[in-house]
C-alpha cells in the first residue's frame, strides 16, 4: 500500500517536472482555461451583484408598493398607450376613499426641466406628487420639511430637492429656504430628501425635484391628466386585495363594461421584481454560455498542445518505456500533466475572475458577490476539461511502441 502510494507520487512528480521544464508553453496552454474560468466567476459575480442591486432598489421602492399606469393591456399582453392618459387626480381620491386595503395614494406627474439657482443650473426631472409620497416610498426628508396638504391644495410654488440636485445647486448646503427657478417659475425650497442611491436601471434616484402635483400640472407641464398613481397597500398580505379593489373602483369610474379591457394597468413591487429577475437571468445565462464555450475552447487548446507535446516527446516516452515505464505510467503522467495545467489554469482563472469582478464593482458601483460555489463549480469544470481533453493524447502516448519511439528523431 505504502509502495503504491509512493509510486503514484513519483509519477505525479514526473508530470510536474515536465510542466516546469516548459513554462511558457504550459502558460499558453492554460490561457484558454484561465479566460474561461475567469469569465464564469466574473459573470456569476456580476450577475449576483446586479440581482442584489435590483433587489435593493425594488425594496427601496417602498413597502407594499403598487404602480397604476394609464393604458390598456390587451388580451395578447401588449401594453397599449395612446398618449392620452386616462387617469385623473379624482381617480386617486376615489381609490383612497373607497378601497379599504389601500393605505396611501399619490397621484404623480413627471416632467423635465432646466433648473436655475443663482449662477448654477442643473437639468433634472420634476415629479409632481402628493403628501403621501414619502410614506409610500419610505423616503424621509433629511433637512427642512416635506410640503403640506395645504401647499398641494393651493398649488403652492414649493419643492423638495433630491440629494444630488441639492449638492449641485447648493454646494454650500444652504438649500432650505432658497429660491430656485424651474422653467422661469420661482419655487421655494422647503426641504432636502435623504440619499436613496441608484435604481435598477442605474439611474440616480436622488437626481430629482419633488413638488406638489397640482403645481407641476398648472405651472410647469400644463397637463390635466396624471401620469401614474403610486399606491401603498395597508399590509403585505393586502397587496392582491388592494389591486382587486382598485380595479373595481376604476372600472366603475371609467364606465368599462364587464368583459371590456381596462384602460389602466397595475404592477406590484413583486411583479416588477420578477420581471427584472427574469431579464437578469436571461443575460446571465447568455454570458454563462459564452463562458462555457470559452472553457470548451480552452479544453481543445489543452488537447492540441498535449498532442503536439506527445509527438515532440516521442523519444522521451521511448526512453521512459525502455527503462521500465508501463503504458499506464505514461498515461498517468500525461493525464496528470493535462489535469495540472487545467487546475493551475483554473486557479489563475479564479484570480482573474475576482480581479475583473472588483474592477466592475468599482466602475459600476454594484455590490459584486464572488460566491464560493461559483469558484468550486468552475474549478471542477476545469479539472473535468483537463481529464476529458487530456485523455486522448495521454492514451496515444501510452500506446507507442518503445522500439519505434526510441528510434524517433
Amino acid at each position: 500500500m505504502k509502495n503504491s502510494v509512493q509510486r503514484l507520487g513519483n509519477i505525479t512528480l514526473v508530470g510536474l517536472k515536465a510542466i516546469a521544464r516548459n513554462k511558457l508553453r504550459s502558460f499558453l496552454t492554460m490561457l484558454g482555461i484561465v479566460i474561461g474560468v475567469g469569465c464564469v466567476i466574473a459573470v456569476v459575480a456580476i450577475g449576483n451583484g446586479a440581482t442584489k442591486s435590483v433587489e435593493n432598489t425594488i425594496n427601496s421602492l417602498g413597502t407594499n408598493y403598487i404602480m397604476l399606469f394609464p393604458g390598456a393591456t390587451t388580451s395578447s399582453g401588449a401594453r397599449l398607450f395612446t398618449g392620452n392618459s386616462t387617469l385623473t387626480a379624482e381617480d386617486a381620491d376615489a381609490i383612497k376613499a373607497e378601497c379599504p386595503a389601500v393605505a396611501y395614494v399619490c397621484p404623480t406627474v413627471r416632467t423635465n426641466a432646466q433648473i436655475v439657482a443663482g449662477e448654477l443650473n442643473w437639468g433634472t426631472s420634476i415629479q409632481g406628487v402628493d403628501v403621501d409620497y414619502p410614506l409610500i416610498r419610505s423616503w424621509n426628508v433629511d433637512q427642512g420639511d416635506f410640503f403640506t396638504d395645504q401647499d398641494v391644495k393651493s398649488s403652492a410654488k414649493v419643492c423638495v430637492l433630491g440629494a444630488t440636485v441639492a449638492e449641485n445647486l447648493f454646494p454650500g448646503g444652504n438649500a432650505v429656504g432658497s429660491v430656485i427657478r424651474i422653467k422661469n417659475v420661482p419655487f421655494k425650497v422647503v426641504g432636502v430628501l435623504e440619499r436613496k442611491g441608484g435604481n435598477m436601471m442605474g439611474q440616480d434616484q436622488d437626481d430629482t425635484i419633488i413638488a406638489p402635483y397640482t403645481t407641476v400640472m398648472k405651472k410647469l407641464s400644463g397637463k390635466t391628466k396624471i401620469d401614474m398613481i403610486q399606491i401603498s397597500a395597508a399590509g403585505p398580505n393586502l397587496v392582491g386585495e388592494a389591486q382587486t379593489q382598485i380595479e373595481a373602483v376604476l372600472r366603475q369610474r371609467h364606465r368599462i363594461p364587464p368583459g371590456g379591457d381596462s384602460d389602466f394597468q397595475m404592477r406590484s413591487q413583486e411583479e416588477i421584481a420578477q420581471t427584472q429577475a427574469q431579464s437578469m437571468g436571461t443575460l446571465k445565462n447568455l454570458l454563462l454560455i459564452i463562458a462555457g464555450v470559452s472553457l470548451f475552447v480552452g479544453g481543445i487548446g489543452i488537447m492540441n498542445i498535449m498532442l503536439v507535446s506527445v509527438t515532440e516527446r516521442t523519444r522521451e516516452i521511448g526512453i521512459r518505456m525502455a527503462i521500465g515505464a508501463k503504458g499506464r505510467h505514461i498515461l498517468l503522467q500525461f493525464l496528470f500533466e493535462a489535469v495540472t495545467l487545467a487546475i493551475v489554469g483554473g486557479l489563475m482563472g479564479v484570480a482573474l475572475g475576482v480581479a475583473v469582478s472588483s474592477v466592475v464593482r468599482r466602475a459600476a458601483g454594484w455590490p459584486i458577490v464572488v460566491t464560493p460555489d461559483s469558484i468550486a463549480l468552475s474549478f471542477g469544470v476545469a479539472a473535468v476539461v483537463g481529464i476529458f481533453f487530456g485523455f486522448y493524447p495521454a492514451r496515444k502516448a501510452s500506446r507507442l511502441d518503445p522500439i519505434d519511439a526510441l528510434r524517433y528523431e
Binding site: Q6, N10, K17, R320, I323, G324, A325, G327, H329, L406
Partner: protein, 249 residues
C-alpha cells in the same frame, strides 16, 4: 558452477513486410553466464538489432525461448516486459538518450520512479549519487546534459543503467557517437564494471570496440556464425590498441 543469466534457444523473429516475410532471426541459440562480457557483432541487416531488441525485452520473439535471470520472458505481455526491463536490464544507448533539461541526478533516478519497489525521494537520491560516483561523475549531479561532454553524458547513461542493480547491462553501440579516446574511457568503465561482477552485453559493429569483451558472437543473416573467446590478458599485454581480428569470411 556459473549460473546462466541469458539462455536463448531456437529464437526466431519474423517480420511481415506486406506480402514478404523477413526472417530477421532464424534460430539463434545463446547461453551467457553470469559475469560474462559478451559482444554481439554483425553488419547492418544481420539481425543484430532484432536480437538486441529481444534481449532487451523491447520486443517478443516469434518462436523460441528466452530465459533471463531465471524468468521466461519470451511470452510476457507489454507491461510484464516493462517490469522486467526495469528490474533486470540496464540500457545504454548510442545516442545517450538522457532527458534534456533534467539534471544528471534526476536522469539517473528515473528508473527508480517506475520500479515495483516504491522508493522515497531520499532513497532515490542516495542510490543515484552512488551510481554517479561509480562512473566517476561525483560533483556533476546538478549538471544538465547540455552542460556535459559526450563522454560524460554516456557515463550518466551508464549510471542510470546501473542504479537498479540489473542482471545485465545491455549497451547498444555505446561508443558510436564518441571519439576514439572517449570510446576507450567508456569501454574501460564497462570492463571495470564487468570485473566487479556485472554481466555486460555489448552490441557493436566495430571490431576494435568488440575487442574489449571477453567473448565475441558474430551474427549474420539471422544466425550466430561464430562464437569466440578473447583472452583479455593477451590483448592488454600486446599493446596500446587491441589488434583487429581477422575478418570473418
Amino acid at each position: 558452477m556459473p549460473s546462466q543469466v541469458i539462455a536463448i534457444q531456437e529464437l526466431v523473429k519474423v517480420y511481415q513486410m506486406g506480402e514478404v516475410e523477413v526472417r530477421a532471426l532464424d534460430g539463434v541459440d545463446l547461453l551467457v553466464d553470469t559475469g560474462e562480457f559478451i559482444a554481439v557483432m554483425g553488419p547492418s541487416g544481420s539481425g543484430k538489432s532484432t536480437l538486441m531488441n529481444i534481449l532487451g525485452c523491447l520486443d517478443r520473439p516469434t518462436s523460441g525461448s528466452y530465459i533471463l535471470d531465471g524468468v521466461d520472458v519470451s511470452t510476457l505481455n507489454r507491461d510484464e516486459r516493462a517490469v522486467i526491463r526495469n528490474a533486470k536490464i540496464g540500457f545504454v544507448f548510442q545516442s545517450f538518450n538522457l532527458l534534456a533539461r533534467t539534471s544528471a541526478l534526476e536522469n539517473v533516478e528515473l528508473p527508480l520512479l517506475y520500479g515495483e519497489f516504491g522508493w522515497t525521494g531520499g532513497e532515490r537520491h542516495g542510490a543515484a549519487r552512488k551510481s554517479l560516483e561509480r562512473v566517476g561523475l561525483k560533483g556533476r549531479e546538478d549538471h544538465y546534459p547540455s552542460q556535459l561532454s559526450g563522454g560524460q553524458q554516456q557515463r550518466v547513461a551508464i549510471a542510470r543503467a546501473l542504479v537498479t542493480n540489473p542482471a545485465i547491462l545491455l549497451a547498444d553501440e555505446p561508443t558510436g557517437n564518441l571519439d576514439s579516446r572517449t570510446s576507450e574511457e567508456i569501454m574501460g568503465i564497462f570492463q571495470q564494471l564487468n570485473e566487479d561482477g556485472k554481466t555486460v552485453v555489448l552490441i557493436t559493429h566495430e571490431p576494435d570496440i568488440a575487442q574489449h569483451a571477453k567473448r565475441i558472437v558474430h551474427v549474420r543473416d539471422g544466425r550466430i556464425q561464430k562464437d569466440e573467446r578473447i583472452d583479455q590478458k593477451k590483448v592488454r599485454v600486446s599493446g596500446i590498441a587491441p589488434p583487429v581480428q581477422a575478418k570473418i569470411s
